[in-house]
């Protein structure tokens, strides 16, 4: 189950500072826990998140085991031109997820 929720304002004025919010479902298993039988539960986390605006990277984050399940990442950027914001999450066990949102700048 990998699912994302993206909140980008659909319209903005040129030069406006806009808030971008992203949420993704992921267990973020830290790798430090043990099962009831004592076996180590292997690490399974998202390791990186990147956002690009019309192809240019505008935000990047590295994630570590202490980050909670279902990471919520929010940042601000300046609305420069109409186009697409693309988001990419990558992690352990070949985890990869993408999402995108359109914005119209007037």
């Amino acid at each position: 189950m990998a699912r994302t929720l993206i909140n980008v304002p659909p319209k903005a004025k040129r030069g406006d500072v806009i808030s971008v919010k992203t949420l993704i479902s992921h267990v973020m298993e830290s790798g430090y826990r043990h099962s009831t039988t004592g076996a180590a539960i292997p690490r399974d986390i998202i390791r990186s998140f990147a956002a690009s605006y019309n192809g240019a990277e505008i935000f990047r984050a590295e994630l570590y085991p202490a980050i909670a399940a279902n990471p919520f990442i929010s940042f601000h950027t300046v609305a420069t031109e109409s186009g697409t914001l693309e988001f990419k999450w990558e992690g352990d066990n070949g985890f990869a997820q993408t999402a995108s949102a359109k914005i119209t700048v007037e």
Binding site: M1, R3, L5, K21, I24, N70
Partner: protein, 286 residues
């Protein structure tokens, strides 16, 4: 025997609150020839005062502004991830019958509106009340020819969250189905019954001490308006049954098994107690 003076000092309020005060006063009041008045009060007053309807508050009101904001914003509320997953499952063909929920029920936005508000409901087939989780699994068995979904599995949580979400903003129905009454009463008795090594009843915290702190947390009134909830402590979604089992473990009582009739009866009583409050599903709780 306590002197009659003791009863007078505490007055009608003690009688209204019931319990031991009532027993203590019984003999002396009778001696004073006010037995009739006493009986009238006993018959009208509940054994333990329920929180008055206009003083009831959702756990939402007792949360920090940050957690409230998280629940309000559908793109920050992690429960919405399960709503999305539930919608996909709603439309997925399942089991030997290769039938989806949507094949019978159609658009959930219409067919499931207000449904969660009137659950647990009486199942004529089973002869007992059934909650949403039970209903999903009953549908799977009868209509989809599919194995039941495990309690607290992501699929069952997703489907129940999706269904409950269709009732968001609607009031919890006052279930007046006559057949539910004995089960609701059993739930109420269980709510008031002390249990566990700590010897607490649900009411000891959630009626007598709501709003105060237990460790670092504010004790809510225990209205199940947000379930299934995304609990930050769990870092995931959980059903009302999970929460109830949590509380039972907290008072060091043996928790009832998932799906046990005792849990359904408690769910039934809690929903009755929360009648009229708006449904928030999916709620976020600390």
């Amino acid at each position: 025997m306590r002197p009659a003076r003791h009863c007078e000092a505490r007055g009608d309020e003690a009688i209204q609150k019931g319990g031991t005060a009532r027993l203590e006063c019984f003999a002396s009041l009778a001696m004073r020839g006010t037995l009739a008045t006493f009986l009238a009060l006993t018959l009208t007053a509940p054994a333990v005062a329920e929180i008055p309807l206009d003083e009831r508050r959702s756990g939402f009101d007792l949360m920090s502004p940050e957690t409230q904001a998280m629940q309000r914003d559908d793109t920050a509320n992690p429960g919405m991830l399960w709503v999305g997953e539930g919608e996909a499952l709603w439309n997925r063909k399942e089991g030997g019958a290769q039938r989806a929920c949507a094949d019978c029920h159609g658009d959930a936005a219409q067919s499931m509106r207000a449904v969660a508000a009137r659950y647990p409901a009486f199942s004529a087939e089973l002869g007992r009340p059934i909650d949403l989780q039970g209903q999903v699994n009953l549908c799977r068995a009868r209509r989809q020819d599919a194995p039941p979904l495990r309690f607290e599995s992501q699929e069952l949580l997703a489907l129940t969250t999706y269904v409950a979400h269709q009732s968001r903003g609607l009031p919890v129905a006052a279930l007046d189905d006559e057949r539910l009454v004995p089960f609701r009463e059993a739930g109420r008795r269980r709510f008031l019954e002390r249990q566990g090594q700590l010897n607490f009843s649900c009411a000891n915290c959630h009626e007598d001490n709501w709003g105060k702190k237990l460790a670092g947390n504010i004790i809510p009134q225990a209205h199940p308006t947000g379930y299934p909830i995304y609990r930050l402590e769990w870092q995931g979604m959980g059903s009302l049954q999970r929460r109830l089992r949590n509380c039972l473990t907290g008072v060091r009582a043996e928790p009832y098994a998932f799906g046990a009739p005792e849990l359904i009866e408690l769910e039934l009583y809690l929903n009755w107690r929360a009648r009229g409050l708006p449904i928030e599903a999916p709620g976020v709780r600390p």
